[in-house]
Every structure is written in structure tokens, then in C-alpha cells.
């Protein structure tokens, strides 16, 4: 009797959990699934039923100089800040992963803090520092700011990769007469490349999604896609914003798939 009760409760609990989880997944995916079809609507309302299939909002995005400029800016700023953040972050991680690294318990939280400190505070502060340097309404200013925001992801992923990596490989190379630079280039770098690439993708996504810093220190010339979306929602919202949103969702899926590939590759690598 008792056994029977227990299994019923267990089944109910498992079924309940499944139901709750299903609803949560619907909640997570619904906004994405709902706005994608709306972006192909021939009418200009944000509601179902769709009036007909049309690519007019995509045409509107691809022909609007504002949006084209915004996409170009997002790529320029994202690429430049990712390269900088990856170089600085990987270098720091190479130091941090060594057991001799001094003051680690202070340095590590400090390097991660750009991820945690409220972004408005950083943006207003950047305005104060960059204004006298002529870095307001300027590509370099935005790139430097986005680099700072992207570095924590590189530091985290590369440090994690280095800590799981077998030190005897570099020692073996060194004992066979390789100089430190050769050891780094031939042994360390190939092994940490998946981690570096993962960090770089996170840094790029951070820049690609950032709007507050651009609101404070960027000018009309530096308008990126999120900055243009912000204006779009605030001033005059029309379905072309849904076309942009759909393109960004595709982009997010592409980043995710790349990341999965990298991870699968990293797991195959013997370590």
C-alpha cells in the first residue's frame, strides 16, 4: 500500500515538473516565436491573424540608410572591440592561470567587475572621462568602452580552459628544448583556441547587444543596431523593427551553433 502511494506521488511530481517546465519553455520561446511570423506580415499591425505574406518590412530595412548604417556600425564596433578584448583578456588569463599569480583573489573579481557594475554608472563615468579627451561621438571611444565590457567573458572562458589543461604537455615541450615562445605557439595556443574563440564570441555578442554606453557617449554617426532599435521603439514603432529582430534572432542562433561546434571540438581534443 505504502509503496503504491509513493510511486503515485513520484509520478505526479514528475508529471507536474514536466508541465511547469513546458510552460516555462513556452514563456521563454513565445516572444521569439510570435514576432518572427509577424515580421512577414503584409499589414502594419502587430497582431494576428496575418493579413498576408510579404517581405516588405525586410525590404524597408535593407533599403533604409539608417538601418544599413547601423548594421555596418555594429559590425565595425563589434569586430574591433572583440579583437582588442580577446587579446587583452587572453594575455591576462595566461597570467591568472599560473599558480604563482599574486593577489589573485583581488585581481580576478576586479577583472570580472565590468560584467557586474550597473552599466549606467559606467556610461555616465565614461562620458566624464572621454569628453575632455575628444572621445565622445567618436568610434574609438565606443570601441574602447565595448572592449572593457567584453574582457570579463574572455578572462573567464580562457582561464577555465587553461586550468583544465595538462601542464605536462608544455613541460615536455620545454624539456625537449623548445623556447617559451615556441611552446606557447605550438602547444598552448592550439589547445586553448576553443576557449579563446568562445570568449571572443561572448565579447562580440556583448558589444552587439550594448545600447546604454552608446546612448551616452556615441553620436548619430555611431548608431548601432540596438541603438537604432531603441530610437525605433521610442519614436515611431513599425514592423520593420520586427524584421530586424528576426535577423538578430537568426544571428543569435548562428552564434549558438558556432559555440556548440567549438565545444564539441574542444571535447574531442585529447588533453
Amino acid at each position: 500500500m505504502a509503496t503504491h502511494n509513493v510511486t503515485t506521488t513520484e509520478k505526479l511530481a514528475a508529471r507536474g515538473t514536466r508541465w511547469v517546465a513546458t510552460l516555462v519553455v513556452v514563456f521563454l520561446m513565445a516572444p521569439i516565436l510570435v514576432i518572427v511570423p509577424l515580421s512577414f506580415n503584409s499589414g502594419s499591425y502587430f497582431s494576428y491573424p496575418l493579413e498576408g505574406f510579404s517581405l516588405r518590412w525586410y525590404e524597408a530595412v535593407f533599403t533604409a540608410p539608417d538601418w544599413r548604417h547601423a548594421f555596418a556600425n555594429s559590425l565595425i564596433i563589434g569586430t574591433a572591440s572583440t579583437l582588442l578584448a580577446t587579446a587583452l583578456g587572453t594575455l591576462a588569463a595566461l597570467g591568472l592561470a599560473r599558480s604563482e599569480f599574486p593577489f589573485r583573489s583581488v585581481v580576478m573579481p576586479l577583472l570580472i567587475s565590468p560584467m557586474i557594475i550597473p552599466i549606467v554608472v559606467v556610461a555616465v563615468g565614461l562620458y566624464l572621462v572621454f569628453a575632455p579627451l575628444g572621445l565622445i561621438d567618436n568610434y574609438l571611444g565606443v570601441i574602447l568602452a565595448h572592449t572593457a565590457l567584453g574582457t570579463p567573458f574572455v578572462v573567464i572562458t580562457v582561464t577555465a580552459t587553461l586550468l583544465s589543461f595538462d601542464r605536462s604537455l608544455t613541460r615536455a615541450a620545454a624539456s625537449l628544448g623548445a623556447n617559451p615562445w615556441t611552446v606557447f605557439r605550438r602547444i598552448t595556443l592550439p589547445l586553448i583556441t576553443p576557449g579563446v574563440a568562445t570568449g571572443a564570441i561572448f565579447a562580440f555578442a556583448t558589444s552587439f547587444d550594448e545600447v546604454i554606453v552608446i546612448l551616452f557617449i556615441g553620436g548619430t554617426d555611431q548608431r548601432t543596431v540596438p541603438r537604432q532599435m531603441w530610437t525605433g521603439i521610442r519614436d515611431r514603432i513599425d514592423p520593420s523593427i520586427l524584421a530586424v529582430a528576426t535577423l538578430l534572432i537568426l544571428f543569435a542562433i548562428a552564434l549558438f551553433l558556432t559555440l556548440n561546434r567549438l565545444r564539441a571540438g574542444a571535447e574531442r581534443t585529447p588533453s
Binding site: A2, F27, I35, A92, Y127, L128, V129, A148, I249
Partner: protein
């Protein structure tokens, strides 16, 4: 003797080698530290110091500022102070520093700009009794609170912005007084920010825990598919998700159309431009952080403990509460701290989905810098926000460790 020296030498060489290795390791992190010093630490430090700086009166009228500092602040000031004001007012106007000062004084007393500009326009060339001349020109000069504002403006550095951030100020008698209920804004805004963040954290925990459990306990294939459904929203731009909710929750939007056509409601619900919209949007954006944090702990929990408890006759609910739940607490703690710390700094989502009564503290900082140009108050509010964030970050780091943060 020689043996001991030898050992000392070797120990010294070893210590020197370790120090050299430590320096080399640190040197690798140095470029990033230097970079963050300029692009991250200096900006925050500069903004926070703005919260105590008060240079405007001293720059525009140094003589008046010095005279005001030596005044005890009771009643009306003496002739010496009035004369200093009369002497330096035309000079400040000629040098162009008067505008900045007038804007600064307006933060404390909204009519000060007009009073100062009017006085500068009509000031006589000479007078035997400046106090009487000023009062004759504008009777506001005979009010003690006007002079009190000037006296507070002479104190640099000042605690006044930090007090204003807590809806308080230094009264004419010298003690700290609270702002009247109608003018108190910031304590409420901090309380609201914490409240919204706490509710969002709780919602994320309630919604995220079962999903994390499924992720950790399903067979690899379905778990992988479920993971994709959690990660794709996580990777989708914050602005895209906020836009999506903006569109979905409108009175004529998808959610209301669905509810109306199913007959669940008879008229559209107000789901956006209010607290509901903020909570839905922020929970949606922060939920994947919670799920991933709990999942990363759950996947390491061995099923044998639960099996043992059940086979020994524990009720599944008891076994869950006493055996499974305690093992997941590190993940729950990490997820809650992470979601809460990220939530208290939110700006975009409450700005787009919230209404007039839902401003979070980040929005008020932005208003002070963009609209009021009150950098002092922006600095003071930022100081509190950064302080609260650092306290939670410190606890998080102590309990979980920042190096254990993982994404994706």
C-alpha cells in the same frame, strides 16, 4: 656551517625564482589592468567623486564663498557678506561663470537662477548698506533660506548630494532634516529597485528550478533539445526580447487578443507600461541565468543519495526536501545573487516596458545627467548603487567565487 649557508643560498634562490615567476605572471595581466584603469575604474571613480564636489560658488565668487564659510548661519548675514556678493556678482557675470553657478543653485532652490540674474541686472554701482539695497531690489534677499542655500554652496567638498540621494538635507539649524513627503523621491526609488529585483529573482527561481531539474535528469538527447530552448532566448539580444514583449503585451497585442478570443477576459488587460510589464520583461531576460546556474550544480549531484533515501522508505517529498534540495543550494544561491545583482542595475527594460511609477534607480541617474545636468546628484546616486552592487558581489564572490561563473 658551509652546509647551512648552502641551504640558505638555495632557499634564497628559490624565493627569488618564485618572486620572479610571480612578477612574470602578473605582467601578463598588466595590460588589461592598465586598460581597465582608464576605461572602467577611472570613469566610475570620477563619477563618484562628483557626488561630493561643490566647486561652482568658489569658482564664480571666491570672496563670497570665503565670507560665507566664516558666518555662523543664523538669521540673516552681516553686511560683509552682502558686500562680497555685490562686489563679485558683476565680475562673475563678465567672466561667464554666473550661468553655471545659477544652474547649480537652482538644484537647491528652484527660483535661484531668476533671482541671481535679476539681481545682476539691477545691481546699483555703490551702496552704504548692501543688505538693505538687495532686499529693496528683491524681497527674497531678506529670507534666511536663500542665504542658507548660498552658505551650503560654499562648502566644498559637500555631503549635500549624498544627503539629497537619501531625500535629506542640512537644515538652517545645522541638523539633518528629511525632505517633505511630496519631495521624497530617491529612498522610494531605491526601495522600488530592490523590490522589483527581489520579485524578479523569486520568479526566476520558481520558474527556473523545475527546468534546471529536467535538464539535469532527462536522457542526453531530450536534455540537449531542451537546452537549446533555454539558450536561444539567452543569446537573443536584450533589445529584441524587450521589443517582443512591447509588441506582445500591448492592449491590442497578441496576448490580449488571445485572452479575449478564448473568453478568459472581457476587456484587454493592462500588461505593459506598468509594473506587470517590467516584471514579465525582466524575468524573461534573467531567467536563463538562473536556470544555467542551478543546472551547473544539479548535473553534478549523484542520484544514489535520492535512491538510498527512497529505498529506506522516505516519502518522495521528504527525500526531496531533506536530501536533494540541500545539495542544490549552492546553485540556487549563485543564481539568486547573479539575477539580483544584474536586476538592480537594469535600465532599458523598465524604461521601455514600465510606466510612470516604475522607474528604477538607473533611470533616475540617467535623468539627472541627461535632463537636469545635475552631475553631483548623479554621482551620489551612483555611489549608493555601486556600493549596494559591490556588497552583493562581495557576498557572491565569498559564497560561490567569481571564477566559477559559466555561461552557455
Amino acid at each position: 656551517m658551509t652546509v647551512a649557508t648552502d641551504r640558505d643560498d638555495r632557499a634564497g634562490a628559490f624565493r627569488r625564482a618564485r618572486r620572479r615567476d610571480a612578477r612574470r605572471a602578473f605582467a601578463l595581466a598588466l595590460p588589461l589592468l592598465a586598460f581597465l584603469l582608464v576605461t572602467f575604474i577611472a570613469p566610475i571613480a570620477l563619477l563618484l567623486t562628483r557626488g561630493v564636489q561643490n566647486p561652482e560658488l568658489g569658482q564664480a565668487m571666491p570672496g563670497l564663498a570665503a565670507a560665507l564659510k566664516s558666518w555662523d548661519g543664523t538669521g540673516l548675514p552681516d553686511e560683509r557678506i552682502a558686500a562680497a556678493l555685490a562686489a563679485e556678482l558683476p565680475k562673475a557675470q563678465a567672466e561667464g561663470t554666473l550661468g553655471t553657478l545659477a544652474r547649480r543653485l537652482n538644484f537647491d532652490l528652484p527660483e535661484f537662477r531668476s533671482l541671481l540674474l535679476k539681481t545682476a541686472r539691477r545691481l546699483p554701482a555703490t551702496s552704504d548698506n548692501w543688505m538693505a539695497a538687495l532686499a529693496a531690489m528683491d524681497e527674497r534677499w531678506s529670507k534666511p533660506e536663500v542665504w542658507h542655500v548660498l552658505r551650503r554652496a560654499a562648502i566644498d567638498p559637500t555631503p549635500d548630494y549624498l544627503l539629497a540621494g537619501l531625500d535629506a538635507k542640512v537644515g538652517p539649524e545645522g541638523g539633518v532634516v528629511s525632505a517633505p513627503a511630496g519631495e521624497a523621491v530617491y529612498v522610494d526609488a531605491f526601495a522600488r529597485t530592490f523590490w522589483i529585483s527581489a520579485v524578479v529573482t523569486l520568479l526566476c527561481l520558481l520558474l527556473g528550478y523545475p527546468v534546471a531539474w529536467l535538464l539535469a535528469n532527462l536522457p542526453p538527447k531530450p536534455a540537449g533539445r531542451l537546452m537549446i530552448l533555454v539558450i536561444v532566448p539567452f543569446w537573443t539580444s536584450l533589445l529584441v526580447r524587450t521589443t517582443a514583449w512591447y509588441v506582445l503585451l500591448q492592449p491590442g497585442g497578441v496576448v490580449n487578443s488571445l485572452l479575449l478570443s478564448l473568453g478568459i477576459v472581457s476587456e484587454p488587460l493592462a500588461l505593459v507600461f506598468n509594473r506587470t510589464g517590467v516584471l514579465i520583461g525582466m524575468t524573461h531576460i534573467l531567467l536563463p541565468f538562473m536556470i544555467l546556474a542551478i543546472y551547473s550544480v544539479m548535473k553534478g549531484i549523484s542520484p544514489v543519495y535520492m535512491r538510498a533515501a527512497l529505498s529506506l522508505g522516505a516519502h518522495p517529498a521528504v527525500a526531496f526536501l531533506r536530501i536533494y534540495l540541500p545539495q542544490t543550494l549552492p546553485g540556487v544561491g549563485a543564481g539568486c545573487f547573479l539575477v539580483f545583482v544584474l536586476a538592480i542595475g537594469y535600465y532599458i527594460t523598465p524604461a521601455l516596458l514600465g510606466g510612470a511609477g516604475d522607474e528604477m534607480i538607473s533611470q533616475l541617474i540617467a535623468i539627472q545627467t541627461n535632463q537636469q545636468l545635475n552631475w553631483g546628484l548623479a554621482g551620489a546616486l551612483s555611489a549608493y548603487l555601486v556600493l549596494f552592487t559591490l556588497v552583493f558581489y562581495f557576498i557572491f564572490n565569498r559564497l560561490v567565487g567569481v571564477d566559477r561563473l559559466r555561461f552557455g
